[in-house]
Amino acid sequence: MKSSALKRAGRSAVIPLITVLTAFVLAGLVMLVTGNDPLSSYGAIFDGTGLNWLFPWVSGHNRTIAAQDLQQTLVAAAPLVLTGLSVAFAFRVGLFNIGAQGQYTVASVIAVWVGTVFTSMDPVIHIVLAIFLGALVGAGWAALAGWLKAAFGAHEVISTIMLNWIAIWVASYLFQEGGPLQGTQALGNPVSNTIAGNLHLPVIWGNPELQGLDVGVFLALIVAVLYWAIIRRSTLGYEVRAVGHNPTAATASGMNVARSYIVTMAICGAFAGLAAGIDVFGWEFQVSSTTISTSQVGFLGIAVALLGRNTAIGTVAAALLFGALETGTAAINLNPSSINPELAPQLTLIIEGLVVLLVSTDLIALRLLGLPRKLGWGKPQAATARGDALAVDDPARDPAEALRPEPGL
């Protein structure tokens, strides 16, 4: 019993690790081919993440700067946990939520707007209200895709992507020069009003002036626990998983598949909306058309969820990795003598693409290790008739466990 649980845990950690390593090696090859030194580049990126703070005996870097970098890594990881959970939750019901970016965007618009009006409100209530309303609108934005799927059969991949672009353009419109929500002090810049200092989330580590670590990270962890509880311990999660695995059987058991799609998407949207809330009140304090069109938090959530295999703990770990990558490759944290700071963020995209590509099939990792036989994953099941051979569904192999191929995209 114990050992099989250990084996399971081991199995689910080993494959993502191999995946990440392979992605780094392949990206390193790209650097090598284009005349960059992968080792010193990765070294510079590692120093940029602040993770060297944990290993003071290895790196001779300035402890203060390392600490600041690490704070930034954690600040970047917190919203990724939430957008990752947003994508992961949808996977559980068999939907592909590519719309976390749009849900994040609408929520940040609402959060910053609420945060900059009602100035006489009690600060705590004000923050909670703004973040809550942001999450609510994010939920509604996502539920729209769920409803389109449930009512019209519109594929959520298309509709969430369209909702992303709609959100991005509408938000850009709102904050741009002459736009209705442009800040009164913005003076030609496409920026919202700024949230007052007493409404900032408290910083628990580091200097508030230098984007120290705020309490948003706790919110992310709480939501991760909540995610686990919903999936594993609630009737809602049970229904979501049943619908994800087999909507026909779920219907026959009295579950309402359409409702599941809408409710699930709403929860996804709320998660992504919370990510926007902690970003806006944690360190951004204002929203601009530029940040809206360049933000990648929602898209990165896809890679986070896939790498984290849709589990709460995996998602947190994957978010840390991608948060570190984001921070490490940010131009400002890099030593330009090792790698061109313009180049590094592109490297993140390549690594992200490779990770998603590799987790889309675990076969590579498995073949490399010859694992299938050891773990008893040989030919799945006995097949006595041709039909049976096709019907076999081995969830262990599919990273998006419940994501069924569905005709029509």
């Binding site: 009737t235 049943a242 009295g254 099941q381 006995a382 006595t384 569904d393």
Partner: protein, 513 residues
């Protein structure tokens, strides 16, 4: 006959899937102009053997000889090249394409001249050749109809034509009668006689003793992947074949006492239901089932059974009519209302409808009642209670192959069905709807399901059995209703003859009425 070189010979074919041996050193040979039947239960390895022959599976070991020469058949293309044609049990068609397109697909006539290089289809030539073949063998088809719009019988004729179009000398028919009406079966037998006379060698796969004795020249029996020997038709009887098939004398009937029907539990009145294609599948069906009786609904597949069951169990909303369970009206109120009113449902397709395969046994067993205490309270699951339920049911219903925490996909078909039966019976229903509850099961599992249904009846439950197997109907029913064209067209006592039942199932009674 034996001194001729067989057109086809399989020598010691073995096919393994992981640890499971689907075929174990099977020998089989076929002469020109004979029908050689391959007989065996579901899962005996008949289809696997033929898939090996047709290049869909590669054998683990063994040898295939065509006209005495060893050949390698690595793909269906190779099989076709050696003159082997296959009529699949589940027809292999592109539903949205026409009859002609399906027949010529893979060796399409192309236009001559510049068209040949580009591979431009010669649609007129295709159509002409299909028509010629159709006329020659008396296999009537509509060359321009889409496959999805033609009857199952015509689809089968198209499959045969497709093999003939490719000049097949060896024709394999995999359970060809399973989907046909009595009339269509007669026609098929005539076509096979004609082909035989023409020198075509035919492999006839079946698990029905009667029709094998009718058409076959020789009979080979498979049991659990092994050949039990080949016998000529002369001298073979149903009893002797049955012994070879199951390895013991078959208990064809489960013991049951006379029914003692009580009050009416299910009453369906003038029910109308539309199917997925928005066509009216159930057209004014009325029926009642009383406590303590098994009512069998017999009929050829596709006459509205599925839609009727879905309406009764709340999965599908009827367009008109009434459904009442013990006085509670449930039509169109959904699955939960039906369950609350006391309906349990052993689904037709356990993989698709009955179970969530990746779920554990415990999770599957909770599917009916996860919303009620003690399994959950205020939206939170009680994992301990769910596990206890599973432990109890796995024990009580002797589900083997896994514990409460193993996924349902790990179980064999029979044990999966036990799981479904356990869950439904344990919900203590007033009405148990069993839709083809023994499909694809072996004899032992069939006995279990049958005796479970009778136990439920004797415990005073109403049982509605929907079955396509007339044997099952006559073994279990206290009353037999016949559904045809979405209506209940006849009612018989359980001892109705197969002829009478067959006539009613194919619309004879409706015409008479």
């Amino acid at each position: 006959m034996t001194d001729q070189t067989p057109v086809l010979e399989l020598r010691a074919i073995t096919k393994r899937f992981g640890p499971v041996v689907a075929n174990d050193r099977v020998d089989f040979d076929l002469q020109a102009g004979e029908v050689h039947a391959l007989l065996g239960e579901n899962g005996a390895g008949k289809s696997t053997l033929m898939s090996v022959l047709y290049g869909l599976y590669s054998p683990t070991s063994g040898e295939i000889l065509v006209d005495g020469e060893p050949v390698r058949i690595g793909s269906p293309g190779d099989a076709i090249a050696h003159g082997i044609g296959m009529v699949h049990q589940h027809f292999m068609f592109i539903p949205v394409m026409t009859v002609t397109e399906n027949i010529v697909l893979g060796s399409e006539p192309v236009k001559r001249g510049s068209g040949a290089a580009l591979g431009v289809l010669d649609r007129r030539a295709s159509r002409r050749r299909v028509q010629e073949l159709s006329d020659r063998y008396g296999l009537a088809v509509d060359p321009d109809a889409r496959i999805e719009d033609v009857s199952v019988g015509m689809q089968q004729r198209v499959e045969i034509l497709r093999a003939l179009y490719r000049n097949a000398r060896i024709l394999v028919l995999d359970e060809p009668t399973a989907v046909l009406t009595a009339q269509e079966i007669t026609e098929l037998m005539a076509v096979l006689e004609r082909l035989k006379a023409d020198g075509t060698a035919i492999v006839f796969i079946s698990h029905k003793l009667g029709e094998v004795l009718e058409i076959a020249d020789r009979i080979t029996v498979l049991r659990r992947g092994r050949s039990m020997g080949t016998v000529p038709r002369a001298g073979a009887t149903e009893q002797s074949l049955a012994r070879m098939v199951v390895g013991r004398d078959v208990i064809f009937r489960v013991h049951k006492d006379a029914a003692q029907p009580g009050r009416t539990i299910l009453s369906v009145e003038d029910l109308h239901v539309r199917d997925d294609r928005d066509l009216e599948a159930v057209r004014g069906a009325s029926l009642t089932v009383r406590a303590g009786e098994i009512v069998a609904l017999a009929g050829v597949d596709g006459n509205g059974q599925s839609e009727l069951v879905q309406a009764i169990t709340g999965i599908r909303e009827p367009t008109a009519g009434r459904i009442a369970v013990d006085g509670t009206e449930i039509a169109g109120r959904g699955v939960r209302a039906a369950t609350a009113a006391g309906i349990a449902h052993i689904a037709e397709d356990r993989h698709r409808v009955g179970l969530v395969l990746p779920f554990t046994l415990a999770e599957n067993l909770a599917l009916r009642r996860y919303r009620q205490p003690p399994l959950s309270r205020h939206g939170w699951l009680n994992l301990k209670a769910i596990r206890e339920l599973a432990v109890r049911l796995v024990e009580a219903f002797d589900v083997r192959g896994g514990g409460p925490d193993s996924p349902a996909s790990a179980l064999s078909g029979g044990n999966q069905q036990k799981l479904c039966v356990a869950r439904e019976i344990d919900s203590d229903p007033k009405l148990l709807v069993a839709h083809q509850p023994t499909r694809g099961l072996d004899v032992g599992a069939i006995e279990f399901v049958h005796s479970s249904l009778i136990e439920q009846r004797d415990a005073g439950k109403a049982v509605l059995l929907v079955s396509l197997e007339s044997e099952e109907v006559s073994a279990l029913a206290d009353r037999v209703l016949v559904i045809y064209g979405g209506r209940i067209v006849a009612e018989f006592p359980p001892d109705v003859s197969d002829e009478e039942l067959g006539i009613a199932m194919t619309g004879g009674a409706a015409a008479a009425a």
